[in-house]
Symmetry: C2
Subunit: 215 residues, 2 copies
Amino acid sequence: MGSSSRKVPASTARRLSVYLRTLETFEAEGVSTVSSGTMASRGGTTAAQVRKDLSHFGSFGKRGTGYPVAELARELREIIGLDRSWRVALVGAGRIGSALFEYGDFRDRGFRIVALLDSDPSKVGREWGGIPVLPVDHLEEVLHSHSVEIVVLAVPAGVVQDLLDRVVRAGVRAVLNFAPTQLKVPPGVTVNDVNLAMELEALSFALIAQQGDDE
Amino acid sequence: MGSSSRKVPASTARRLSVYLRTLETFEAEGVSTVSSGTMASRGGTTAAQVRKDLSHFGSFGKRGTGYPVAELARELREIIGLDRSWRVALVGAGRIGSALFEYGDFRDRGFRIVALLDSDPSKVGREWGGIPVLPVDHLEEVLHSHSVEIVVLAVPAGVVQDLLDRVVRAGVRAVLNFAPTQLKVPPGVTVNDVNLAMELEALSFALIAQQGDDE
DNA sequence: GGATGTGAATGTCTTCACAGCT
DNA sequence: AGCTGTGAAGACATTCACATCC
């Protein structure tokens, strides 16, 4: 009971990655069992939160003992979908695209960049680590021929909505967007935003708010 | 009444940036007044949400008319803290640091990178756009001499907690962290995480969950 | 004894719905 | 008439606390 993924809070989903990373650290340290309390203290949350989060997917612990590190890690990988590999296309071979491409961590975790696209003719035709940069005009056929499941949009704000529409029409249902634009997303499609400007502005806001607290 | 920043939900704070960007678009288009409904449709939220959010800071609209675009934009800039400029130090002159540095948007919005630091001797001594890359050993004095208010940590996971501790001890209270590590943060300090791996994993999870829905 | 798994209680955020201003 | 501002209701998420099992 409980192993179905019915009604998982979005916030829970976002914490699973943290748990997995914590478990992998313990695994590397040779620890074989952890309690929810230990997990919590490393993950910046509470013991009850860890248990509730995990309980959405099943019962992985033993009372009195805790959770088996290796086994729980394996379960989480399966739940998150990291027990397989995903085919990713990167649209926009600029600075951000480059940083992302070089950030080898992803490959290790099953995200394989199988296609690169750009609109700039001076970039098209080049290769990044053996992968050719293709013209963005061919977006649809590239997505199709490479069976792309996840698209990363690292393009200027002005063109991102148009690209998203094309990507969605081509059947892709998961997108990572770096443009500082709030996109119109049809149901059934997940778009995660990485908005660096917004992160900095949130810090600015926090500093201002802190200031006001000393009164 | 209500112009004090008592008890502002974190989620509200994160939406203010979106509202500001929406307003700036309208401003550029010469629109002088917007309703909460229009704001909402562009910001991916609801009219009531927009009004509630704004109501935490004051009453900026006119009933029957809507909100004055230019004036509300100005108010939001002040609330967020974009009516001044912030002094930012960037630790880690690698790929991500470079991408961030080149992403000129920030300068325009008041985030001025005044110092660059790295531990790699081959990078130290170089210049990026006139700003010298300094050795991270001198972190504390650099933060001090440049009156740094915000620090961006674009460094490997292994060293980030140590750097955060130093940064906090040096009196900085706002940090943007790119390492995939859950940091221990003392009270009074705000750390925002940009975790690319986690964003991709969230997409993976979403795809898996969608799959399960068709049953 | 020790730690999980989970209903119940609490807290937080969002949505509703409408009074009140323009 | 139109749209804001806001208490109240509702939905959602977190924390508590304890029975349950190893």
